[in-house]
Symmetry: D2
């Protein structure tokens, strides 16, 4: 495999660039998962995770991908055939729907244009008309589109309807990067995983679990074993797991939570907002279009960019990978070939963003996409002034 | 946390001592799981895994623990209510049974004394009397007891009965350490995971899947999503996964498979057999009793040692951990306090084993267990002469 | 210590950004420096170093800094009181002179303006007038100024004068980044070290040694022990060293030489030339002045930038470090406060350079230095078109 | 290169087994050696080194081997032709003498049998007879023989003679493992390096420098540059170095000093004494002879073992390396083939020692050396009881 010069720029919206501190942490020797040192580690990380979720509820950690954490949220709280309301905000919302259907749930998917988030007004309508809905599934930040849904307004719609449905929120690409408040926003299960804002390699899935969700778990009809919260929560109290946990990722998690705490969560969120704004300034500076249409829903963690008719976004991505040693996100599902996605989340800073946008600019230009020259400068102005 | 001098001896029967080569490998930066370099990696490791399973069948890799791989084997091949035959060879066989019951299977557990493996004659009887058995679940190497069941004889019993039941085998603590032949022994699903003979940290689960198992998956009645083999196998063909795979563990897997290939699987198996023999020589030299009763079933990867009446195995373990910086395996389930387990598998050699047995000897002696002095010497003689 | 977000940009002209592959390599366990594996390693790296120096002569490796390698070049070839000709091309040429004087050599330092390299015409004059000169000391790439002297023309001046002086060349910041040919250019001792183009942390010094230099070593009058080439070369033949070598840096060297070979030395040199050109385009685009005055001498590895009167270059550097997590080189000696230096060498690529230049642009702007906006765009054009 | 199973046992008396914490520390990215973070690091490690030397004097750190630190001690304090008294305690004392002679010193080497340390009575005699002696050079722990000289008695001899000679002590293989008190014992220059008790890879040399040595440096006649203490001490005050320091080894040093502090120096010293005693018990249990003859001089860090006539120690070492993946120290100089050396220092513990001694036992036995069986057991008794 030829060695491309310099550091790779992993600017997909996750997995993100893992800090070298975290990589070193995960390379420590594996220890006895039933020994006293492990219990100290486990309790420490399970506690330190809570502020990142904005919760005092327990957080369950699985050896799994985020998809596994989706499945866990559903099988712990629902019963086969239960009615679930979901919103077609993009590719990942659709995949979650598919997973729910595969498990035997009855999913009502509100159609969407993949350029908007969940519309709280439509939710309100749906709730008004259907008391059988057992859960509302929302993707907080649609990784396929760069659209962030407004969870507080979603919560308000539920509250105003007085509807008892559980609120299940996927924060796979927002947790640790975008403001999120599991408790304050009344979320019942927050689904997340390790490889985005939590600055880790893939391999850990999470469920933050409200009191109400725990009660639902008691009567939920799905047969479950691996995903069952109850034995995990019971074992976690003593610092253990009912099955062998991914020790080395937990080392990494301890380090990444320390990194987030050192910068401060509010500073982390502000940095991501700035980078989103700077990126959109670049896109507009080039004369291109951001996929997200509603400025209240612009994602702080990634920006999907529409390529002009007649250009293939994946060819541009391949050129940029080959020539500039930078990975961008592909267009997923119905957006294939039409957008590329710039990840600007995680272990990232202003000069890395400037390098990223410069690579995009050069790649577009070399690919023959007509772009105006001032895009990078527009981004730099945002970074300078904010 | 005070720093204990010198290298920790992780002599539980897994997770095992991860080679530093593997630890360095997993600390490489995470790459784009949809990019070309990832596809090269994935295809390479999925292929290189096959000889370790003794198969030309596909191997499915999950971000999961071994428990997840148990669940995957069941939900891909069976339907709720199906009758499954299992054998109470120890703690893990019992846990697998519990998991199956939780999923809604009808498990017939043949009782056992936790000192023997699966009795092929009992299996033959069971098969003769019950044509409704859909699957036979066997733990190849019982990690809780140090007993290795004879899978070829189990296969023969199935063949002689002409019984169509699937054969599902857990090789969690044997794969990569003990001779195993998925194809030749006619196993339908081989369940395994990363943290034992595969020399990795925990976090990867595996299913090697026979043609017959794949056919069973087509008609299996369990609803499934995360564990479903079919989308994984389809994506694997191009070198990808349907959800974000644990990239860094795959780096480690590439390295650990290289390490196994460099030593040679036959040499690896022989090394483990020698170490089992030397360990039993030490135990007998001390005047203590090995838990396993049938010499045909002695485990090459761990040895469970009975402590004399009046002694608490866990206190001895705690003393050894504290004083000698060595972790031994605890007695599980009904063996709690009555045995400790010496792991002698994975990244290991003669002098490490000698150090391990010396630590056990000193720990027993300091704990007041009456032990004869010649145990370590007896082990050294085995190592010298074989 | 607060954690600055994202990857640090180490854009001083050395130590350079060490590739993660090299960092992992140096973290392998230290081995017996008298054992067979060590001999394989030593011979491999000492051989693989030769093409980087452009030589078939032996290369001596010291546990030392580059300063140590300067001292080694002098004490192995000269005698106390010997006359040496040197050129004041900048701070490091001056330091080498100081070191030579401290050792008791009689150094004739040709004065310079720190904006030009060695003038071959002046050298010719000096040689014509002074047959007592025993050695000519040249800094190939002046790290303090960003000026690269033309060694082939220097060689020609020596040849045309028929002067027997030894030619000693410091390639500390050029080796592995800028074209260099020890043999073809008739250099007698090439001095270098690990932490620049060789992509390693500091800790290894090098002398490539011509046949003529080896002969000079036989009669050189300096008493020497640690630096003595002869016992080292004798031990190296069998793959060993006369004293404990820095094993882990040799691991890193094996990896970094592999990295250079994978990219190809010619491609490495071309990349550095492009980056130099792009950087100068940016500097001019901002309306600032490059320190180097002769375009034949522009350094491909670093660019020193003059800051306008009334501005303190070190305050700008501090602002950039604080705000953008990027280190730039300080002005050294008489250039203190008047220049900053942008390192664009080593493990580096187009997007990293674009990020670097963007950080400089923003830093200058925030520091109140009047800069025109088009600098980064000018650099991107160079990168796109070449 | 075939992969030997399990962890390598690096039981030479240095380089020692580097703790994985230290290996991870040295793999952190190199930083700007002129930046603020570096200054924090440098000051921290230079301060934390002092208790290990037992001094409040400054410690100079060189990018060098221990040999370089020998040279530094001499050229900073002496003048060409100065008379120096040394003691032939073994190979390294002889090498230091050779180095001093090469530098032009007039060395009086008191002959020795390589089985004893410095005899304070002989020193007293020498001092009485020769007022021209400028320095006394002592190797604290002779790495080639396993003999530790009694520095306090050497100091007393100097004091009683009222002799002004400087006392220069090599602690290469004792520092951080054997009790040592630079201040209390009135040592003028303590020479050491990184790769033994300091738990690091090779690459750092040290001089702890008394007030008297600093005064000597003012009038010392050796021309010096790289080794000159004065510019280093001046720069160190601000946390910097006059030339590029080996940053990554300093990271490692910070970690290894933390490890020593966590265990506690007194506990570290006691551990090494116990391991020396246990090793000698094993040697005698085998019926073999320890090289060191005076029990007051037994080394806590290594044991040299005489092999019976008719056996080649290096063949035994080769067999042990090949068969047991363990490196032992070779016989050096006049001891070649006649002894092997067991290193039991650094990052080490009881079970590692037991494994080491077991490997030696098996290797001797397989090599046909007549050894009694009880050696390892004798060592275990020492470890158990002390």
């Amino acid at each position: 495999m030829p060695y491309p010069a310099g550091r790779h720029f992993l600017q997909i919206p996750g997995p993100t660039n893992v800090p070298d501190r975290v990589l070193r942490a995960i390379s420590a020797p594996t220890i006895d998962h039933r020994g006293p040192d492990f219990a100290v580690l486990a309790r420490e990380v399970l506690d330190a995770l809570k502020p990142v979720f904005g919760t005092s509820d327990p957080v369950v950690a699985y050896p799994s991908s985020g998809t596994g954490a989706w499945e866990a949220a559903l099988v712990n709280t629902l019963s086969p055939g239960d009615r679930v309301l979901a919103f077609e905000t993009g590719h990942f919302a659709t995949l979650w729907r598919d997973l729910a259907v595969n498990l035997g749930l009855d999913v009502d998917l509100v159609p969407g244009d993949w350029r908007h988030g969940v519309d709280p007004a439509v939710l309100a309508e749906k709730l008004a008309g259907d008391s059988t809905i057992k859960a509302v599934c929302v993707v907080h930040n649609e990784t396929s589109t760069g659209v962030t849904s407004r969870v507080p307004e979603i919560r308000r719609a539920l509250d105003e309807a007085g509807h008892p449905a559980l609120l299940l929120v996927d924060t796979v690409s927002s947790l640790g990067s975008v403001e999120y408040r599991h408790d304050e926003w009344g979320v019942d299960v927050t689904v997340s995983c390790s490889q985005k804002g939590l600055l880790l390699p893939p391999g850990l899935g999470f469920n933050a679990v409200s009191e109400k969700a725990l009660r639902a778990a008691e009567s939920a009809g799905f047969r479950r074993a691996y995903w069952d919260w109850r034995p995990i929560l019971a074992a976690n109290e003593r610092g253990y797991f009912p099955y062998t946990p991914p020790t080395n990722l937990l080392y990494g998690l301890r380090e990444s939570l320390a990194i987030l705490a050192e910068e401060g969560l509010e500073a982390v969120f502000a940095r991501h907002r700035r980078h989103g704004e700077a990126t959109r300034a670049a896109v507009r500076g080039w004369g291109l279009e951001v996929l997200a249409l509603d400025e209240r829903e612009y994602s702080p963690v990634l920006t999907a960019v529409l390529v002009p008719e007649g250009h293939d976004a994946d060819k541009i991505r391949a050129l940029i990978l080959d020539r500039f040693n930078m990975s961008l996100g592909t267009g997923l599902g119905r957006l294939a070939g039409r957008v590329f996605r710039i990840g600007h989340l995680g272990h990232f800073n202003d000069v890395s963003l400037a390098g990223t946008l410069s690579g995009v600019h050069m790649g577009l230009s070399l690919a023959g996409v007509p772009v105006r020259p001032g895009g990078v400068d527009a981004a730099l102005r945002v970074l300078e002034l904010t």
